[in-house]
Amino acid sequence: MMRPIMGAAIVLVAIISFGLYELKIEVRGLESELSGLRTGITAEKENIRVLNAEWSYLNRPERLGNMAARHLELAPIVSTQFIDAAMIPMRPPPYVPDVASLIPMDDGLGGAMVKPRFVGGVFLPQKNPRTTIRSAGEVPQ
């Protein structure tokens, strides 16, 4: 009766010890990884601070002024360059064609006058291209 229980207990202890050991090793690995990451973050933050300082240094107004004078065709704005928004003319209303006048008409000679196919996005009736009479010598399109 006692022996199987003892055996089971010993096996259990062995398994648990092994698991605990594995867990400990894994945690230790994770902890060293974590502290590595934290050191990295600290270093990166420090780098960002250096870069911020350098960015501010590179953006000194006198440096930007010199570079703008050398490379840009721009000068400080003067008050006469401003106009009131109300002084800018409004955009003219879009052209609305008189549709009636655009319906293809017969020119009396059997050929249609040249008409645009689209006006303001509206498809206009066209003559069947196959019935168009080409005059001699005209280059086929």
């Binding site: 934290r38 600290t42 420090e46 601070r49 300082a53 960015w55 501010s56 003067v78 008050s79 006469t80």
Partner: protein, 567 residues
């Protein structure tokens, strides 16, 4: 196994298979057994308690304290060392960076001369002779150089000289150099604040804050103000200059310049005159700019109105003084004319009607009789006469007898034109949109009248050269002689112009003050404010108005101007 706990003699039942027997133990054996049983129970109890404690700890660690264990420890960087300082748009003005300092143990240095020669090649500006002396000393610790860069550290390591070591340090860096140097201030060798905002942070215990401190300064405006003042100092051969740009509605200081200035990164190479803050620490008798306050005071208490005036044909003789006009008209002058033509006689007579007590109260309300409440340690206390006699009242009317700092003058001027509310000036950015608390010292209609009068000074008076077309500038010139022992120095002037724009709806006050300007050909050798400080302010406003998004209007269009002035 079961056993009965009670009863003597004890009865034990033993089950093994089907035949069970009862064993009875009595006498000495029973007593021994009972004793050991009690001991066993006690030991088991102790173990049980131990295991319970362990189990409790496991539960505590795995379930209760999880957030605590998983929280990252505070990251120690230079960030936690001193807060960054930025301008109102977030441009970095001061930051702390990590570096290393070099120290040595002279006992370990084999050849001090050679070591010093190698180090001097890596560290520019290292004093070789002094280094040899330090490395040859009997001490076991000497500092050699503070704050080295990573490249220099690497090069020194490559030298392979024993006895040289590094200590991590933090250095305060001012990327913008001289810009806003007087505002930010500087730190000492151990990064303790010694001037400007840096010192204020220490004083207020804010040096440990990790969040960046946002100033009210706008670096773009600061740069424009500084460049134009540098121009003026060169053009008029002044020994110094001060400038202030202030938001009239909030008291925020957008730019504050004092010339000559210094590089806070190389504070040890600056001299006292460079570190002296002419904009806040210096107090000057401002001259005619005070007529603005005299006129506003008289209009406010009603001793004059815009149609009344004074006879300014004769100089006033009081005691041993004679008050005369620089731009004498020798006739009766109306109140607007007294201001526009800057009449000392008229202002003095106006002040007599106001009276000493009311004059003192008004100047006090404008913040001119106590040190400016600004977040800098370098704040000058104004000088005012005690007792405040009638003669003082008369001279103070045109700005002699009370000495104030430029930032106080700008603040008081803002109060006159912003509708009459005094705001405490600040160098820290206020919450945008929030109403700034203020104290009313002038009624709104008097403030509106003053805006018209100050505009007239620039249109037709002594301040014509301050005009910045489109931005409706108004303001007042002030030329004062510097005090010397027993009187005034006629050759040494303080020329100032305090103006605001746009005058129909003022947003910013601009002050420029030149210390001892000299005339040149372009000014027909005049060094007075109208010829020196006024054009400087005009140039400043032309540059900063587009930056500050002030819409220009056509000043020649009468209809537009009339429409702009009516609210």
């Amino acid at each position: 196994m079961t056993y009965a706990r009670q009863g003597t003699p004890q009865t034990y039942a033993r089950h093994s298979g089907e035949n069970s027997r009862r064993v009875q133990i009595e006498g000495v054996a029973a007593a021994a057994l009972k004793k050991s049983q009690a001991r066993l129970t006690a030991v088991a109890g102790i173990f049980a308690i131990g295991f319970l404690v362990l189990a409790g700890r496991v539960v505590d660690l795995t379930l209760v304290r999880i957030p605590e264990l998983f929280a990252a420890p505070p990251v120690v960087t230079a960030l936690a060392f001193r807060p960054d300082i930025t301008d109102r748009n977030g441009i970095l003005l001061a930051t702390s960076l990590k570096g290393v300092s070099l120290y040595a143990n002279p006992r370990d240095i084999p050849n001090p001369k050679q070591a010093a020669r190698h180090l001097a090649a890596i560290i520019p500006g290292l004093d070789q002779a002094a280094t040899v002396a330090r490395l040859s000393s009997e001490k076991s610790f000497v500092w050699l150089e503070r704050h080295l860069g990573p490249r220099q550290q690497d090069a020194i390591n490559r030298l392979g000289i024993p006895g040289l070591n590094f200590e991590p340090t933090v250095k305060r860096i001012y990327p913008q150099g001289r810009h806003a140097a007087h505002v930010i201030g500087y730190v000492g060798i151990d990064s303790e604040g010694l001037g400007g905002i840096e010192k204020t942070l220490d004083y207020e215990g804010r040096q440990d804050e990790t969040r960046a401190q946002v100033l009210s300064i706008d670096l773009r405006v600061q740069n424009a103000l500084r460049e134009e003042l540098i121009w003026a100092v060169a053009e008029f051969r002044a020994i110094g200059a001060a400038g202030v740009v202030m938001d009239v509605a909030t008291g925020e200081i957008l730019a504050l310049v004092s010339l000559p200035d210094f590089d806070p990164n190389r504070i040890d190479q600056s001299i006292n005159d460079q570190r002296f803050n002419r904009a806040t620490l210096a107090v000057y008798e401002m001259g005619s700019t005070f007529k603005t306050f005299t006129t506003a005071n008289a209009l406010e208490i009603g001793t004059v109105n815009l149609k009344s005036g004074y006879d300014a044909s004769e100089p006033i003789r009081v005691a041993r003084f004679i008050i005369r006009d620089d731009h004498a008209k020798n006739r009766w002058l109306s109140v607007p004319e007294i201001l526009v033509y800057s009449s000392n006689i008229g202002a003095a007579k106006m002040a007599l009607d106001i009276g000493s007590e009311r004059q003192r109260k008004f100047l006090g309300d404008l913040g001119l009789l106590r040190a400016a409440e600004i977040e800098l340690p370098e704040v000058g206390s104004p000088l005012s006469p005690t007792p405040w006699r009638e003669i003082n009242t008369m001279t103070i009317a045109f700005g002699h007898g009370v000495a104030v700092s430029p930032v106080q003058l700008a603040n008081a001027f803002a109060t006159i034109i912003n509708g009459g509310v005094h705001h405490v000036p600040t160098l820290f950015k206020r919450v945008p949109g929030a109403r700034t608390p203020g104290k009313r010292v002038l009624s709104e209609h008097v403030s509106a009248d003053m805006r018209h009068l100050l505009r007239r000074i620039v249109v037709e008076g002594t301040g014509k050269k301050a005009a910045a077309p489109g931005y409706v500038v108004g303001g007042k010139t002030g030329t004062a002689e510097k005090a010397k022992a027993g009187g005034y120095n006629r050759k040494a002037l303080i020329a100032s112009f305090v103006g605001a724009f746009p005058m129909n709806d003022p947003r910013y006050v601009v002050l420029a003050l030149l210390d001892e300007p000299k005339g040149n050909e372009s000014t027909f050798n005049f060094a007075s404010a109208g010829w020196t400080a006024a054009p400087t302010v005009g140039r400043i406003i032309s540059r900063i108005a587009p930056i500050l998004a002030v819409k220009p209007i056509d000043e020649d269009d009468r209809q537009l101007m009339a429409a702009a002035w009516t609210p």
